[in-house]
């Protein structure tokens, strides 16, 4: 064992020697090969370098080739690959190369920009171009801004165009050929441009992924511009059909937008806008209607100013006004029906609201109409907001005829227009209900009827008042001017009687045009009073005439009259009805009562009293046909004479023959004048 181990040790040493010798040899080989390897490596590096140099030198041509073949992606890749070298040696060895390449890249950038801006390129290509430009460190943001500006401009142009369309349609649709709103060519143009716009949006979303906000804004702008156009047209007055046409266009645009840009929720956005537009439309339609009606009514005043001679100016205006009211309202309703009948989603959504608006609109419209009526009649409440306006009108005289017309028109509205409108609304505009139930329906015909009934009565009263006022001025002048105590003997009927009769003629002329005649004369009333009057007044009159002892006569007169007066009083101040006879009679009665009151304020000498007696007797003969209530008229005429007698220092009446003669003279003179005007 020990031998073995000693032997092994010797072997190991031998091995070591061998290894060492191998190592030294291989070192030798290594050393001898090192030089060569170094050389080879050097050569290899040089080759690489040369290849790169070759690439750099080739770069401009290569880029040129790329440009020619539009392989911009490669070109950009090459250029970016060469960038480090240009950075390192661009200023020295490769100066020329660098310049050439940069020129080429300049072209590429330009081309790429062109590509981005070009609408004919595919979106993909344009998006790539943007990517490449970004890699080239091109300021893409500027590009984006520019592009969006371009898009905005596009939008503006688009709407200029659409305005043009609508403008054409607005001029086209005169009263006879409304309806053919958009001519197909321009609508097609609009359609294609809106498609373009949609495509652009679709593209920009891809191209500029972070541009959503801006795009939403743009889409909203589109809707806004649409509705601005609608707003402009509403201001200029348009028809439902046109409005619907515009809404249809808008809605199709909106749907398109929704497709390309669902995030914008353009449909909701436009629903809000459409809501406002329709509401505005309803309101404006009513205000136009109001203007139309007022305009028709005011023609009375215009005609008066211009002095157009017409046989029945008031009547024609009344008819025109009635037509304006009923036709106007019907047209408006018909118009609004189209809004309801439209199957467009937008309209369907607004249907309930529209119904409410129409109802509210009518309510408001009639309220305003009533206000306008009162305003026109000069009876406007001074508590109303437009004080300055009222002031202006108060300065200007209100035509009594206009007031009468308003009275009859109010009646017409109450009795005919409102029921028809109510019917119409009930049939087509009933199922509103967007307005809460607790408020009830917006359109309350009963209230409007009541209002107009009141307005009609007010206007009629006002007419009577205006007319009596005018006559009062006449009477006042007549009775305050002369010195009645020193009156001269009556020679003829005083001219104020003529003026008075003229006034009544004018009133009759107006009333005849506006108010209906009474259907059946109320014989019962005339009869019953007639008997009392005749049995009373005639003997009384004779009494007065014959008796020289006037004092006793007077006290007797008084007693009998006082007994009758209470009965009569009721008849004097009767409620005015909407008939020719009622109005004329009422005015006549009021004026005779005024006459009596004026007489009571004076003191007469005998001649003065006789003058009154003469004037009244003449009036009695001429007024017979004027008054429907003969009894009351007769009674009041008597009253005037009685009052004059009471206020007379020496009441001796004219002798009947003289009285008759003077009246005959006057009658003859009047009829002569009538024959040769």
């Amino acid at each position: 064992m020990n031998n073995n181990i000693v032997g092994m040790e010797a072997n190991m040493e031998q091995l070591l020697d061998k290894i060492i010798s191998v190592q030294s040899r291989s070192d030798g080989v290594n050393t001898s090969l090192f030089e060569k390897r170094e050389h080879i490596e050097k050569l290899h590096r040089t080759r690489n370098l040369l290849r790169k140099v070759q690439f750099i030198y080739d770069l401009p041509t290569r880029l040129g080739k790329c440009i020619r073949s539009e392989a911009y992606a490669d070109a950009v890749r090459f250029y970016i690959g060469a960038m480090p070298i240009f950075k390192a040696y661009g200023d020295s060895s490769f100066q020329d190369c660098k310049r050439a390449s940069e020129e080429a890249v300049g072209i590429i950038t330009k081309n790429l920009q062109g590509k981005v801006f070009s609408d004919s390129e595919s979106i993909q290509a344009r998006a790539e171009a943007v990517m490449l430009l970004k890699q080239l460190n091109f300021p893409v943001e500027n590009l984006k801004v520019k592009l969006f500006e371009k898009l905005e401009q596009f939008l503006v142009d688009l709407h200029l165009e659409s305005k043009e369309i609508a403008h054409v349609s607005a001029t086209l649709d005169g009263p006879n050929n409304h309806g053919n709103v958009t001519d197909p060519a321009s609508s097609a143009a609009h359609e294609s441009s809106i498609h373009e716009f949609a495509e652009a949006i679709r593209a920009y979303r891809v191209i500029f992924p972070d541009s959503e906000q801006q795009l939403v804004r743009l889409a909203q702008d589109l809707v806004n511009m649409h509705f601005e156009a609608v707003h402009r047209h509403i201001k200029k007055q348009l028809q439902s059909e046109d409005l619907l046409e515009m809404l249809r266009v808008i809605w199709s645009d909106v749907l398109l937008m929704d497709e390309v840009l669902p995030e914008a929720a353009i449909s909701d956005f436009s629903l809000v806008a459409a809501r406002n537009a329709v509401k505005e439309y309803v309101a404006s339609t009513f205000s136009h209607l109001l203007l139309g009606i007022t305009g028709t009514i005011m023609k009375v005043q215009d005609r008066q100013k211009v002095g157009v001679e017409e046989e029945y100016p008031l009547q024609s205006v009344l008819e025109a006004s009635k037509k304006a009211v009923i036709q106007g309202c019907m047209n408006v309703l018909l118009d609004f029906r189209q809004l309801l009948d439209e199957k467009l989603e937008l309209s369907l959504k607004l249907r309930d609201l529209t119904i409410d608006w129409v109802q509210e609109g009518f309510q408001e419209f009639f309220r305003k109409l009533n206000e306008r009526f009162l305003f026109l009649s000069g009876k406007s409440n001074s508590g109303s907001q437009d004080l300055s306006l009222t002031q202006g009108v108060q300065g200007e005289k209100v035509l009594p005829g206009l007031v009468l017309l308003l009275a009859q028109l109010s009646l017409f509205i109450e009795q005919s227009a409102i029921p028809r409108i109510t019917e119409e609304i009930a049939s087509s505009f009933s199922s509103g209900g967007a307005r809460g139930y607790e408020y009830g329906p917006a359109f309350i015909p009963a209230v409007i009827c009541r209002t107009f009934r009141a307005a009609g009565e007010k206007c009629l009263d006002h007419y009577v008042r205006l007319r009596t006022q005018k006559i009062s001025v006449l009477l006042r002048k007549r009775f305050t001017t002369p010195n009645w105590v020193k009156h001269k003997e009556p020679r003829e009927v005083h001219m104020f009687v003529d003026l008075l009769l003229q006034e009544f003629e004018a009133i009759r002329g107006e009333v005849k045009q506006i108010l209906p005649p009474e259907l059946s004369r109320k014989h019962h009333r005339t009869d019953s009073n007639g008997s009392t009057t005749s049995s009373r007044s005639n003997p009384l009159r004779d009494d007065r005439m014959n008796r020289s002892n006037t004092q006793r006569a007077r006290s007797q007169l008084l007693e009998t009259h006082l007994a009758k007066l209470f009965k009569q009083k009721v008849e004097i101040f009767t409620k005015i009805e909407f008939t020719q006879e009622s109005v004329v009679t009422t005015i006549l009665k009021l004026c005779l009562k005024s006459l009596q009151e004026f007489v009571r304020l004076q003191t007469f000498n005998r001649r003065g009293f006789q003058q009154i007696q003469l004037d009244i007797e003449f009036l009695r003969t001429t007024l017979k046909d004027t008054s429907e209530d003969e009894a009351a008229t007769d009674f009041l005429l008597d009253e005037v004479v009685v009052a004059a007698a009471e206020r007379c220092l020496d009441p001796v009446p004219l002798d009947q023959p003289i009285l008759d003669k003077l009246i005959q003279v006057k009658v003859a003179k009047t009829s002569e004048q009538n024959l040769n005007p």
Partner: protein
């Protein structure tokens, strides 16, 4: 009239236009009424409402030389009153005193304290300052405004100042502002004029034609009520004269006279030639909602007309509230009938 007549009547012998409350009589509710007869002997009646309020008693009957167009009782001496009278062409105004112990005299004569001479056109009205002792009187004729200083004990009246309102303004009457002893409102043909008595100048005017009568609200300062021939009753705020702040329809024919209640603000009586007396409660307009309200609910608007007394047989020209019992008024129709009524039942419950 529904429910028949509630008033207490009293007949004058002749036609009549004027009646006045005897304000200075604090023990009784009494009125003075005067007749208007061109040819008969005219009378002034002192009428007293019996203590049970059921009867009108003639306390005194005094003859008066001419027909009486205006009568006003002195607010501080119950025996003194003024009249405006005329006969034919002549006219005059005087302050009278009812003789003491008139009840015991057989035919008591009125004592003329002072004649308000110095007018050169038809006298329309004599005004006393309504709220107390004041030694001044105003008389108004068609052209002039005269301020008198009156001494009732010395029985003299002297013109203090006289000012013409201008030729073309036919003055017709006036009212002395109870809240301002220096302010008086005068009606004329085409306007209402406001005068300052210190300077005797016109300070303001309302262009409003044919005002028959006017009265200041005793309770509410700056409130003036006017009555027109044709267009009813207007209520004005004298600080804002452009528009009346309230209009009442008035009467079927002319509204002749208006009288504000001495105690209750806004309570107005009007009398008209339609033989009626109307009782109004004028509530000030509540804001600017008048017009809209009228359509929304016409029922909500309270009718200002509380009652219409129609039991008259001729035009009513005379009207007077009792200041002692401010719910009582007296009216006088042209036929010489005095009717005293209570408005109590028509007042809104509070």
């Amino acid at each position: 009239m529904q429910g028949g007549s509630t008033g207490i009547g009293y007949g004058l012998k002749y036609q009549a236009r004027c009646i006045s409350d005897v304000k200075a009589d604090t023990d009784h509710t009494s009125f003075l009424a005067a007749t208007l007869s061109l040819k008969e002997e005219n009378e002034v009646h002192l009428i007293r409402l019996s203590s049970d309020g059921n009867e009108l008693i003639c306390e005194g009957l005094f003859s008066h030389p001419n027909e009486i167009w205006d009568l006003a009782s002195c607010p501080f001496d119950q025996r003194i009153f003024s009249t405006v009278f005329s006969s034919g062409e002549s006219y005059g105004a005087a302050v009278w005193q009812i003789p003491e112990l008139y009840g015991q005299l057989n035919s008591p004569q009125l004592e003329r304290i002072a004649s308000l001479d110095g007018h050169d056109s038809k006298i329309r009205s004599v005004l006393w300052w309504p709220t107390g002792r004041h030694d001044k009187l105003i008389s108004i004729d068609e052209q002039n405004l005269l301020l008198w200083s009156l001494d009732t004990s010395k029985k003299t009246a002297q013109v203090q100042t006289k000012e013409s309102a201008g030729m073309l303004h036919y003055l017709s009457g006036g009212a002395w502002d109870p809240h301002d002893v220096n302010a008086v409102a005068i009606t004329c043909d085409s306007s209402i004029q406001f005068w300052d008595l210190r300077s005797m100048t016109k300070t303001n005017s309302i262009e409003h034609a044919h005002v028959r009568n006017l009265d200041y609200d005793m309770k509410k300062k700056y409130t003036l009520v006017t009555a027109d021939d044709e267009s009813g009753i207007h209520i004005w705020d004298t600080r804002m004269l452009n528009f009346p702040f309230l209009e009442l329809p008035g009467h079927a024919h002319w509204t002749w006279t208006v009288k504000c209640n001495p105690e209750i603000e806004g309570l107005i009586l009007s009398a008209g030639t339609d033989s009626a007396v109307n009782l109004w409660l004028a509530s000030p307009p509540n804001g600017d909602h008048l017009t809209s309200e009228s359509l929304e609910s016409p029922t909500r608007q309270v009718d200002p007309l509380l009652n219409s007394y129609t039991d008259y047989e001729d035009s009513v020209y005379g009207l007077a509230w009792s200041s002692r019992q401010p719910w009582i008024f007296a009216s006088l129709s042209y036929d010489g009938r005095v009717v005293v009524e209570s408005v109590k039942s028509h007042l809104p419950r509070k």
